[in-house]
Amino acid sequence: MTTTTVTIDVPPPCDAVPAVDGDAALVADFAEDMLATATNLDDFDTFTHDSETLEGWTGSAAQAYRSHTRAAGTDGHAISTAVRQVARSADVFAEELTALGRRRDDLVEARAAYHASRAGLLHDITMAQATGRDEIADLQDRSRTLATRLATLIADVEQLLTDVTTAEQAMIDAFSAYGSLAQARAAVSGQADLADAALLRAGSPTSGAAPEEVARWWAGLSEDEQFAVLAAHPEVLGGTDGIPARVRDRANRVLLSTDLEALELRESRGDLPYQDRAALENARAAQTALAAGALDTDPITGEPLIPLLHLYDPRSFGGDGRVAITFGDPDTADHVSVMVPGMTSRGTSAEENTEYAYSIYESARFSNPGASVASVMWIGYDAPSDGDVLTVARETRAKEGGEMLSTYVDGLRASREGSPAHLTVIGHSYGSTTTAHSATGPGLSANDVVLVGSPGAGGGVSHADELEVDRVWAGNNTRDLVAGLADNGWVGGNTFGGVGMGNNVTEDTFGATRFEAESITRNSLWKNTGDHVKYFHQDTESIYNIGHIVAGNGDAVQIAEHSYDPWWGPPIDPEASREPQQWERTR
């Protein structure tokens, strides 16, 4: 018997993949701190330019003031540019670290797979005592393949280490390039500011462009230009319709954090002026709403939700403020809803309304688990509240708010990626009148409109068709005192001397699709204000049906009978005697 010995070269084990030194999340925190700092400094730069002369002050002292202001502002541009550049570099570095970390994880997996294959080959060679020519060729092939895999692995690890070094060096270079004030001065000398130049381009928000033009302007900027505008003018991006939701969120969060820190510092020193107290309250309310919203989870996946701050302006409307918060991304979601609250809504009511936005999100997700949803609460108009609450008796605020809502919804459409969303606007109370005014006035680019707790769609509106959307839904409950203020029956005029909001939207003659919206906790008999605020409460008929409407499941909505007005007596509402149901959240 002849014995032949065959040698098969099995490649060696692969060395461990070195760790990527650094923590991307912490670098991102550093970048956000630098971004907020750059915003403060850019703001100061603008402030000194605008404050060189004070109206109504001339003379020697005024000249001395001007000289000092100029001196203080001389380096404003250089300082803000230096911090902005470092912020931008840190932002890029954080992204690169994340990507490098992922690549390293992939290489660790590839190394483990290589070792598994290698162990398998060694095992098969050991077991092969009497093997034919074909089997030997196969083992040799496997060995060669393993050698190639090892070479690739080693090359990839080397490339990873090179890329880590390159990224780190770019970060170090950014620190070095702006290491001193003299370097910063030299860097900006004769250079136009990137942010200012971007804002001079056609379609910029400061040119008064329409949301579609703004969306094109933003998309046309380079990443460096986008970052420069974000750092220098977050107030422009955060409040402009047509800017992507995630950009607005980042801009508004910078504004929120810089506002909170500065206003709280002044409060602690005891020099917070009266007019800024309301701004601080609004800022705190927005922060609380965001923090509470961040505790909510997607009801289907169980993943935590990060609410987006889509609008933040704590000083507008005489200190009432504007704020919008969304669960889900309205730029990518299949179904988008905008909830417009009514009387008493202002910046400080952000948390309560954010809870309602979550209820809508949750219900819509239960209704259609396969579809993505974005639910916005929008306090973007000057709703009657506090000292001006009596304006609720007139429609002026609703008309003005309707214009703003129309632009806001246009902005949601303009910043979309891909196909248009199915979009629902839900107006509650005075917000329902505002929503209807938006639809019948400038136009509302919505598929569905939902009116709940509605005192009327406006004195000039007699039929749902006038809203010119695919479908108008009405959900007034029978114990709601505010909804009861609408004109009921044939004897009621649309308004009485300009007071009142028009016809009952659940009446048969109005033509809206009425859905069940009674509460199991409703008052046994009387209309009251408590039943006016239950439409967005979890497990109610109302939120169950709103979820189906938002998710595009109109067929699943529990339809209610209209109220009607017989010639022989007062208006009749069949819902008054129906026993309400409770809907569990899990369906």
Binding site: W57, G59, A61, Q63, V86, L265
Partner: protein, 100 residues
Amino acid sequence: MNREYDVNPMTLADSALAWTDQSSRLSTAHSRLEGAPHGGFSTAVASAAATWTESWGTIIGDLADGVEQMSTRLTAASEAYHAVDLQAEQRFQDWLRDAP
């Protein structure tokens, strides 16, 4: 020195408030810069980050101090103009009261 001047002390007081606001924003920027986390950077980058934040922390801290002084001086100027006006008024009132 220009002998002619025109002043609305309220404008100065309002401007002082605006400078105070800027001062508080720069103070918080200074604190933020000094407290910025370097822990995310590798050893190679962390020392450059520490040097940079220390250097710019000083620059922005000085800037914040100067802006706070501007607010203080504007407030003082506003009060001084008020005081001069009040003093002049008082002298006329005294003259009228003492007149025979």
